[in-house]
Symmetry: none
Subunit: 212 residues, 2 copies
């Protein structure tokens, strides 16, 4: 993987930002406009270079806005004087009952002792928004460690994706003919579903008090 030129780096950064902000890739002319290039052919050249160097991918010939980022291997480095195993879990976003998970733009991470999770590579952190889980001792602003797990046990707190594509934190109970999702709020009735997507299981709750 040959290193990128300055311009290629700038273009790549712009593409990344655009995808993050808009959810889709920019067009060649939009890229050109940003860099004050009057010809889309110039942009085409840069894109080709980036494809050749393997940092991006584009769809079939002619497909519009089809630039995709190729995941780059992240450097792993260990420390020798590590007193304990710690995993840095990505902070994936905010979760509130009845709302889709809201992504956090900053690429924040949170250090968590490795003993908290069985599979650190399959875990992430969500920040709680709202008071809906208050009866389970999960408060507004708390962090929960989620482990992707296809088979939750009864009584575990899970991140469930309902039909409407909204994510909620609920207690999971598999009953003979259905699945019961029990909210941690007595004023709310349980939700019964035949099937639902379980995004993950809550492995830990962490509350940090601001020392100011």
């Amino acid at each position: 993987m040959g290193n990128l030129t300055k311009k290629q780096n700038d273009v790549l950064q712009f593409i990344k930002d655009h995808i993050r902000d808009c959810g889709y890739a920019p067009s060649y002319r939009e890229i050109g406009e940003h860099f004050k290039l009057s010809s889309s052919a110039t942009v085409h050249g840069h894109i080709q270079s980036l494809v050749d160097k393997g940092v991006i991918r584009i769809g079939e010939e002619g497909e519009a806005r089809s630039i995709e980022l190729v995941p780059q291997a992240e450097p792993i480095h260990r420390s020798f004087r590590l007193s304990a195993d710690v995993v840095n879990l990505p902070m994936m976003g905010l979760i509130a009952a009845g709302q889709p998970i809201e992504a956090i733009t900053d690429n924040e991470t949170m250090a968590v002792p490795a003993s908290f999770v069985l599979d650190g590579a399959n875990s992430y952190v969500l920040k709680i928004k709202g008071q809906s889980m208050i009866e389970d001792g999960i408060l507004d602003g708390d962090f929960v460690v989620i482990e992707r797990n296809p088979s939750p046990r009864n009584g575990e707190v899970v991140v469930a994706l309902l039909d409407n594509a909204f994510a909620t934190l609920k207690r999971f109970y598999r009953e003979p003919s259905r699945i019961r999702l029990q909210p941690a709020n007595k004023t709310m009735d349980p939700i019964y579903v035949q099937d639902c997507i379980i995004q993950g299981v809550v492995r830990a709750v962490i509350r940090k008090f601001q020392p100011v």
Copy 2:
């Protein structure tokens, strides 16, 4: 699932927002109005594309406002291990309201990210026993990270040592002529003292769910 075009992405986002805000899907002409489209046929085209790409579902032919979101699996993000500052805090014992701290014989420790505590050398961990702190979201079996701190701020949760040498977890409020120790239980009255020994301040609450 082919990627969405720019407009399809925008339309999908609008539908999501509308369902979240109003509880039901928008009509084609409402979508068109928002995007300044004069023909509902245009919207119909976008909706069809979204259905074909499997991100939404619509009811039987002609059913009004029947757009539903199809739950999408989340992309897998990788977490990584790295050398982070971690402190191994000693597990000092069990604490229950109205009881002295009960020492744990095993010389257990708990790994905690250094960001949890200001002064790792002056911190320790207690395990909660009982339901007395339930209204503060601190449940039986939780761990609290305590930092020895002579000057707690108002509203912080502290380990207070009362005259009777029993330790409790209470919220600390310094009032003009006294100190108020507020329990996290509405059935219990606050305790007023002229002075008391503050053993430490709660910096974090950690709840581990047993994966097995």
